[in-house]
Amino acid sequence: MSAAVEILGTASGGRLLARRVVGFLRVLRDNGFPVGLPEAIDGLRVVRAVELGRRDAVRWAFRSLLCASRTDWRRFDQIFDLYWLGHGRKRASRVAGQKARGPQAGLPGGLVPAGPLGPVLRSQRGEELEAEGGDGRRGGAGSAESLAATDLRHVNDPEELARVTDLSERLAARMRYRLTRRERQRRRGRRLDLRRVIHNSIRFGGTPMKLAYRKRWPKPLRLVVILDASGSMSLYSTFFVRFIRGVLDHFREAEAFVFHTRLIHISAALRERDTEKALERMALMASGWDGGTKIGESLATFNRGYAASAIRSRTAVIIVSDGYDTGPPERLAAEMRQLKRRAKRIVWLNPMIGWADYEPVAKGMSAALPFVDLFAPAHDLQSLAALEPYLAKL
């Protein structure tokens, strides 16, 4: 960093100012802003161009130059005030005292007690999950990795809960990205349709004036997710709802259903922009249900009412359930057979496979199993991620 001061100082002639600007950029970088030497050089140019007396001019110029996303934009003012105006020092030490409230409390980035150079914004590396995947600017997947392997039953700390739900939405986003990227590569390259070209050239006396191309229309992968929301699944369903929401958000071609004693189409409710609102709507729709799980009957509703429109040729049906059916197993088997005829693949995710020495002895489960293409665990986020390569092969 001192090298940067060196370069900038000689360039501008104002070493003190250069040092302050470089220091400011360092604080921003510690807070996850994507800034480096080019920004420092431009920053100094800007500072010299605007009238220094006008604080707002400097603020706005720096904000345009140094922010790169909406989150940055929102946090910038606080950090700017803290660094240049020395605001928030008192608050800084107070926040540091209340460690239990976590880094997000109060000020951005979390603060450690003021050092000789004034308050220092602590680097968030490894502390905040956003560092991984979300903006991709920094590495350090440590805590995310371990969370991904935690059985979702054991997540009960509210902060951890928030992280897991966050991670599950992001996982869905990443799956979408990978799956469609494959499609894009296949789409590349256009082939000439020689027959057409020759036919077209007849009216131009044999000169191929009009070229014709063959295009392969890739059929997008469609996902239909059917989620069991019964009591025995309640430990898991919150996470799956989040995950499904992520899937719907990122796959253009996806439908979601929830069942308990009857089947409900929830795509519209889940497409709600605001997560909390979506979950609220979900809860409203699901309320007033009585006990028992009728998998067979719910699947029958799906087969009769929705299958024709929801299932196309390249569709994977994902059923998330523990397989405890209060209805007759023959019914379930019959409906599964019918579903199998339509869908390209049926994936059954059972959170209980992840438990030690689980056998699919539930009557419903063993009745459905012959029609399932992939029977996989879904007790943690890693197992959900493991689905992706399988779906990509469809």
């Binding site: 994507p34 904000r63 130059l65 909406r70 004036m209």
Partner: protein, 293 residues
């Protein structure tokens, strides 16, 4: 020629664009640093308008590149005019020229169809290049665009490299449907465009619709501001506010409370999906209108 912030503000006002000083600062920086400006914000907050106003202020031509999924180089950069090349070959068949000469002629600039990016780079005076909805283009195109924006040159294998004689003013807009790459974000100046506040929106309405009565304009703006707080799928943007205000003027409405039915029917200017229209029944319209007065 670099304009100062006050000059930019004044000129934007002169072309009917109500800007805040922050945006003016960003425009000044664009000129100083030669960096593109990335505008993010919800649909309908007036991101595209910024580029149009900028072109008017600088008296520069506006070149627009609308991005979409599958946008490729032949639509964004350049394409050879294949049919004309073929015709030229036919015409010269009888002429006595060497093959090399003919080939050189065929890959001449005459046969080059310039698409927005190449056009922006090859102009003598710097134009304003608007890359609209960059988040809808593929990652590959984004990477290519980044390369063009850092070097301001495009290489055409048959012709050589075209280097910009005048660096265009580049404005990119994004609705945030896809996360943009960090490299592109770093390359750009950033400005987040929010829905305008009541005061600013009123100034926009008055600037764009000079015929409207002040009282009605104020009511309209308060109504729309309140409507945006409702549980809507698609919040009405500034353009919708202007449409609606113009519609009300056309219908001869002078006070929002006077004709609730007509008001409710005219809401199709603001609410563009059936679900949203269902969310705002007549009673809600009356409530909002009552509060807006």
């Amino acid at each position: 020629m670099t304009l100062s912030r006050e000059e930019v503000l004044g000129r934007l006002g002169g072309v009917g664009y109500v800007a805040d000083p922050q945006l003016a600062t960003a425009i000044v920086l664009m000129q100083q640093l030669g960096r593109p400006l990335l505008l993010e914000g919800e649909a309908g907050v007036g991101k595209t308008e910024v580029a149009k106003a900028l072109a008017a202020v600088l008296a520069a031509p506006l070149i627009r590149l609308q991005c979409y999924e599958g946008l490729d180089a032949s639509a964004a950069v350049y394409e050879w005019d294949y049919q004309r090349q073929l015709l030229a070959i036919k015409i010269w068949e009888s002429e006595e020229r060497s093959a090399e000469e003919k080939e050189r002629h065929i890959f001449d600039e005459d046969f080059l169809l310039k698409r927005p990016l190449l056009k922006a780079i090859s102009m003598a005076e710097p134009p304003v290049l608007l890359v609209d909805e960059i988040d809808r283009a593929d990652e590959e195109f984004e990477a290519y665009l980044l390369e063009v924006l850092s070097d301001f040159q495009i290489s055409i294998p048959e012709l050589g490299t075209v280097t910009a004689t005048a660096v265009p003013y580049v404005v990119l807009t994004s609705n945030g449907t896809r996360e943009l790459s960090d490299a592109l974000r770093r390359r750009c100046l950033y400005h987040y465009v929010d829905f305008p506040g009541e005061d600013k929106e009123l100034r926009i309405v008055l600037a764009r619709l000079p015929g409207i009565e002040q009282a009605l304009a104020a009511q309209v703006v308060r109504f729309v501001q309140a409507l945006r707080k409702e549980d809507l799928r698609k919040k009405p943007g500034v353009a919708e506010t202007l449409d609606w205000a113009a519609a009300l003027v056309g219908l001869g409405v002078r006070d929002l409370r006077s004709e609730p039915e007509a008001l409710h029917e005219s809401l199709m200017c603001l609410l563009k999906t059936q679900e949203d229209q269902a969310v705002v029944p007549l009673e809600v319209v009356e409530r909002l209108a009552g509060r807006a007065v």
